[in-house]
Symmetry: C2
Subunit: 424 residues, 2 copies
């Protein structure tokens, strides 16, 4: 049985949302991103860099020092020069022991895929996830490339039975999802303990969790939760970027996964690994807590303009499910659901384009990679709210963009033009 | 029947060389690289950056401007800012048309793997290679991940029959291998023409070829050889680095392959794509010709010290097959072949370590990624020969390192210590 969204559109099981006639595949998601990059560039050229405010929940700055360019960023010699500092800083960040090791990948997705392909042969990957939250799309990609199945089990269901019966080589635990559903430390420990007892390797996907659990919820450092491997993201939740995946844990496993990843061209280039080091060095839990407070304030203000339950309040800011985005816009248009010319993901993308083009609000709805989720998410970074003119201005921008989208939501061509621009 | 090297060791069909008891898998190749990075870093710390000379045939500098760090290298907005210049410069470099498009990957390997996985379902990939030269290891990796076979056909054999009978969706042409075996332009055109006639997409692996064919052999620009897609490397043959894969050609295919690659975390980060742009902008065919002349001179001088035929002269410098490296070292030790404690790839790695540690000569024998070839290759970049003290000093370094290796070649533990250092 194919799952459907609340409009009756069939959900693409890989993407986790319904595709339409504009966003038919990952290829159009890529074109959507390129169109958005063009729109952002035009805005910067016309109004300057301060005219863009990042609401994706993560900065992607590049904090290397000018001195690093000819030393650490040179790839034959540089990685040897920064290896000791990277290891020390990475392990301190994740609460690792002296015997643990680290490696930097081009993305967290790359590290997850390389782990699955390196460690699994024919066995099902058991993936334990927070209640209500799926694992990242890269888990499915990795399993397909390895030619194995993934069994996603919410932590509130019988994950123990899944591990006992499937006897996986690899148990993957998503501690915090990209929508910020979160697993308790006690649950994480129970999963890693059983997996270890039964001889499985455990990988914690701590892309957000490494800092969100610890800085906002007083959680235990990542490498002290009983897992063999942990991966986090150098541009999420209090880290400044660049985007990169930091893998850490048992040195023999880090070496195996790194070798597999290097064969696939997934390792971080020296300039990125050097940037990851600078990002880790600059980590500030207080800045993360400040961003979380700003997100809460924005969620509170936005929710007054929507029916109860529509605006969900995550740790880092408000979210509106893509179905609710389309429903809201149709309501504003006075149009019944069957007159929608688009599916929910296309509506939330178009809304993202209007927020970006007319208000400088940059979201994952325009700038996510293929595979990113499609709910409207506003996670303000550093001075993002200030750049737009305050919380009220951000709320007004969302409402204004929603009205503008309502005017074209029954016109497929107009929405396609917004989402894909001049692209085919 | 398993192929064997000239010592009777079975050749690993994936790696293309025989594995031993020190380098048993790609994991040890990764440890070999980390050990070498540590050795290079120690030398730089003791004797300064000028004490290392790059003989890998490619620079891996990072030529972004200080101004780029907060603009082009910021990943939300930067890629939109440099996209027009990247496209124009990339297409000019490859002889593309206005209708072609470009995308930058984290490595050429990543672009090749993403192409295979994106475009192939169940069909065999037909891979046409120069006489005597295999395709890159990434072709095999991509096919395994896609769950399909690769048929490698030398261009001197009946590749046309292979294409006609297999009816591939994808024909891959390696124009110049990493050992610099080269295919004629006329042959490349014949392959792309037949593939096109039979409806297959063609990808040219022009990692080296884009510049080696054109600047040294008067060849046709890459995108004018009838292929749908071309990939080249931003740190090879006259480009300064960073390492990155530039994919170019039909825009619909570039979009598909890019979307697949992005799902796997294989796309170039903004700082790398910005570096690739600067690398392409700085391309100098004359510098490449100068490096080629230096390589020829070195090959001539080195060959006087070896039996006829042992030193092969490539476009960019001398090469000695790994079997000949081990045989030479055994001869110097006065030891028969059956007393060798190591296989040829371990001997050439150990020789690379001695060249690096004692003479500052950095080669792929120490610094290649897992999967790299293992013959001794000396391809001097820019001022590499000058840094060592001239051609005679480089030759003396090779002879001196060979003597030193001869003293331990029957001692497995000593060779392991050289190759892997303190690693397990």
């Amino acid at each position: 049985m194919t799952a459907e969204d609340s409009f009756g559109n069939p959900i693409d099981p890989v993407a986790g949302f319904a595709r339409g006639t504009i966003i038919t595949s990952a290829t159009e998601e890529g074109l959507r991103l390129r169109n958005a990059q063009r729109i952002a560039a035009e805005r910067v050229q016309a109004k300057g860099p301060e005219s863009i405010a990042i609401f994706t929940g993560n900065q992607r700055n590049y904090p290397v020092h000018a001195d690093d360019l000819t030393t650490l960023c040179e790839e034959w010699v540089g990685p040897g020069l920064f290896a000791p500092a990277l290891r020390a800083t990475g392990l301190a960040h994740l609460g690792g022991l002296g015997s643990d090791d680290v490696a930097v990948f081009n993305r967290t997705s790359a590290a997850i895929i390389a782990t699955i392909v390196a460690l699994v042969r024919d066995e099902t990957v058991v993936s334990v996830v927070p209640a209500g939250g799926p694992s990242h799309a890269s888990v499915g990609h990795g399993a397909r490339l390895a030619g194995v199945e993934v069994l996603n089990v919410p932590v509130v269901e019988d994950w123990a039975e899944a591990i006992q019966t499937r006897r996986p080589k690899l148990v993957l635990v998503t501690t915090v999802t990209s929508s910020l559903e979160r697993m308790d430390d006690a649950d994480i420990r129970r999963v890693t303990a059983l997996a270890r007892e039964l001889g499985a390797v455990t990988l914690l996907d701590e892309a957000y969790g490494a800092r969100l659990r610890t800085a906002l919820h007083g959680g235990t450092p990542s490498l002290q939760l009983g897992a063999d491997l942990v991966v986090t993201n150098c541009d999420k939740a209090g880290l400044s970027g660049p985007r990169a995946g930091l893998l850490a844990g048992r040195p023999d496993l880090v070496a195996r996964v790194s070798a597999t990843g290097a064969g696939f061209g997934m390792e971080a280039r020296a300039p990125i690994a050097a940037g990851a080091l600078r990002s880790l060095e600059g980590y500030s839990p207080e800045l993360l807590r400040e961003e979380a407070r700003a997100g809460q304030e924005l969620a509170g203000a936005l929710s007054k303009h929507y029916r109860d339950g529509v605006v969900r309040n995550s740790d880092l800011g408000p979210m509106i499910h893509e179905d609710d985005v389309l429903r809201d816009v149709l309501d504003r248009a006075g149009a019944p659901a069957n007159e929608a010319a688009v599916v929910p993901c296309e509506a939330s993308s178009a809304l993202g384009v209007l927020l970006l083009r007319d208000h400088g609000i940059l979201t994952v709805n325009t700038h996510g990679q293929p595979g990113a989720r499609v709910s409207l998410r506003l996670k303000p970074t550093a001075d993002a709210i200030h750049r737009v003119g305050g919380v009220t201005s951000v709320v007004e921008a969302v409402l204004s963009a929603s009205k503008e989208l309502a005017a074209v939501v029954t016109d497929r061509a107009a929405v396609a033009e917004l989402v894909l621009g001049g692209n085919p």
